[in-house]
């Protein structure tokens, strides 16, 4: 009777997907037949052999934004990727921002600038769902922002300060894992390309703990470039990068924007803002 009740609970509609995943996971890939994998395999066998990343709420346009060389998205019509309405965040009596609204379409790059403490990072944390605003709404492709939503995680690539790494997985293995998790069937080319771009090829076998702060930053950026994405959110991506690195980043983000990606980033680097941004949003009162 107890087993029956137990199985009934576990077999209920609410927990069945989780249970099926667990059962599938437990077989260590030998008999994995999870829906996700099937979907991914179907995609992998499609003519493009690449996963599509378009959400249902993003309109009819297929940005086709994939981490591959030279593929320019055909942008018939610019669709809204990110919509922020009346956002408010306060810590006690200190209001960081209020009634903040923003709309970001494909191929747009918004630079958030402002002095230290103006609320750039807090705003970005609210946009990625790492922090909860007091008021207002954030929508990605028409869906309300929820950090736990797999669709949002699939569409939004973020580089903010809370990125963590497996201490016992090497640089290249992190990128391989992310690419595979996002359904890229044969990720070697993409991983190699991104590794070369971020100049981490010599460090590809190193464990993250041995990387310098600049190299860790490059690895964090690589995690965003190695996977499919529709929106890129970056918090001061130029941090800890050398001059050459900042120049590379500016060109890379510009090229991403031109290929149809929507970008929101906070920065103190004028060169980066000038090269990448299509719009600049100044937060907080200017100094002096």
């Amino acid at each position: 009777m107890v087993i029956g009740a137990f199985l009934q609970v576990w077999g209920s509609a609410a927990v069945r997907p989780v249970l099926s995943e667990f059962v599938a996971a437990s077989t260590l890939g030998l008999v994995i037949r999870v829906t996700y994998s099937r979907r991914v395999r179907r995609r992998a066998s499609s003519p493009t052999s690449r996963p599509q990343t378009v959400g249902e709420g993003c309109g009819e346009t297929d940005p086709g934004f994939l981490p591959e060389r030279g593929r320019i998205a055909s942008m018939a019509k610019r669709t809204t990727i990110l919509k922020v309405s009346g956002l408010r965040r306060a810590f006690g009596p200190n209001t960081i921002f209020d009634k903040f609204s923003l709309e970001v379409r494909t191929g747009e790059a918004i630079a958030l600038t402002g002095r230290n403490g103006a609320g750039k990072s807090t705003l970005l944390r609210c946009l990625v769902g790492a922090d909860r605003p007091d008021d207002g709404s954030v929508q990605v492709c028409g869906n309300p922002m929820s950090e736990a939503s797999p669709e949002i995680r699939r569409d939004v690539a973020t580089v903010i300060d809370d990125l963590d790494f497996f201490p016992d997985l090497s640089v290249v293995e992190h990128l391989d894992l992310l690419a595979r998790a996002h359904g890229i069937a044969d990720p070697d080319d993409v991983v190699d390309e991104v590794l070369e771009e971020v100049q981490l090829v010599p460090q590809s076998g190193q464990l993250p703990g041995t990387l310098s702060s600049g190299q860790r930053r490059r690895l964090a950026l690589a995690t965003a470039f190695v996977r499919p994405r529709k929106l890129l959110i970056l918090d001061e991506p130029e941090q800890r990068l050398d001059t050459e690195g900042v120049a590379w980043l500016a060109q890379r983000l510009k090229s991403e924007r031109q290929r149809g990606l929507a970008i929101v980033f906070a920065s103190h680097e004028p060169e980066l803002v000038e090269t990448v941004a299509t719009r600049v949003v100044q937060l907080g009162a200017p100094r002096g």
């Binding site: 137990f6 999870v34 797999p150 790494f165 497996f166 201490p167």
Partner: protein
Amino acid sequence: MSSLEAGADDFAYQQPPEPRALTPASPRELKRLIKDWRSGRATRNVLQAMSDAYVVVFGAAMIGAMVVNVILKAQRTIAQCTSVSCLSARAVLPWAAFAATVAMALAASRLFGPVLASAAEGFWLLDAPISRTKLLRSRLVGAVLAAFLGGAVVGALISALTGSGLIEVLVWAGATALSAAASVAFAAAQQGVERHVLTRVAAYVFGLLGLGALLSVVGVAAGWFNLSLSDNVGIELGVIMMVASALVLLVSAVLAARRLSQIRRARLLSGGALVSGISGAFFALDIGLARDIVVERRAIERGHVHPKRGKGLGLEALIWREWQRLWRFPQPLLVLAGTIVVPYAADALGMSTLTPVFAALALFGAMIPLLGGLRVLTRTGGLARCLPFSLARIKLASIAVPAILAGAWAALTSAAYLGFGDGAVDRTVPEAALMATAAAAGGLLAAVRWTQAKGVDFGAPMVASQAGAFPPGLVTNLFRGFDVCLLTTAPMLLGFSPFWSLAIAGIAAMILLNSMDAETLRARQAEQQKQLEAQKKQRAEAATAAKQRKR
């Protein structure tokens, strides 16, 4: 003399006076100076501090009384263990404690140094033109003394718990203390010549010896073989160990002291940084953070690996990576294999009723290192955000490999519940298998709970206490995991069917593996609340407008 010449004289280069050769301070003087600064800033003396910390003193006294009570009870219980096999089995336990203590002392020494220095000492003192040996000697002595005291406590406690007499307790306490101290001194001597292989090998050898001793407890109790130990063999063996350990301690301490000046500054500071990080984590009672620091340190020691290509897509890729990570650092598997002995030993020692509890607790400890992936994916959320799955599915994928291992562990420990020791409870095979499964589920889920514990939120409302205000999580964090172990095994402990334990484990699994979904639910609830308020506002506005139109 022209003005130009006069000016030239004015600007002529003057040889600076030769600097006086200063006598550098001696290490003793520097230490006294630092001590003076420290004591000069103290606002309370030791007695005042102790009177302030009366709660801690009272607590320590209470725990001490409890330990004494447990020892006395064990001594009374031992009186009932009269058969030769039972007594022989219990006589071997101090040997197991001895070997395990040496293994732990060696492992800890290799991890921390054992000779170490803080960052401040590294910056201000180690660069000074003074003898490094004199500076570090107190550190070496401190580490050896700490090991001696720790070993004495462990040796005395285990020996007393197994019902030994006073002389035997003293002999085993001395032997374990000296051997632990000798291990630390040996590791320090190795540290002086930058060699760690011998320390590592010795740690593994003593670990295996401890496991072997524990296995012999099981074997003797089960009647597989007989050690036929005489009454005095424990004391004789202990004395031999004492003498041997004292010799090793003497030689190693001399070598270590002579090599102190050769230890690189970086090695000294890394041990100090590790202690500082861990002590910070322990100060906040964040044991998970302390473990993270140690894991990170081990990974940094390894530094570089031969990258392996991943397999599969989606969640499958995550599971394969977990498998590969396990084979890259397989030491936790040895610990897991070692814990298989625990339920057998518990049953063999006549603690048949408590076997599921001990088994679950042992598996809980052994599973934590295997859940490193889950830890990384849940501690900040940054990496999980990069993966296109819900957190519940990520968690399931992360625990897939440990769950398989826990299943195998359950299968291998099933026989322990059949009852083979003196006075053990005899059970049927299905019942034993169910008990093993329930205990394994409890251990696994306890480790999952421990692993995904968040750090204490010091911003949360505090609880007032005699010892001052503290956040509620500070105390509950200490019991995380243990609570699941006890909750799942409680029905078996009370004599109910193991099905109840399995049902509790199922509920615990649903709560633990869907915790993030609870967060999503809260977010949804907040969103719905917002929409509801907006609708109310709209209705109120519409009603006001309608009233105005009527007027």
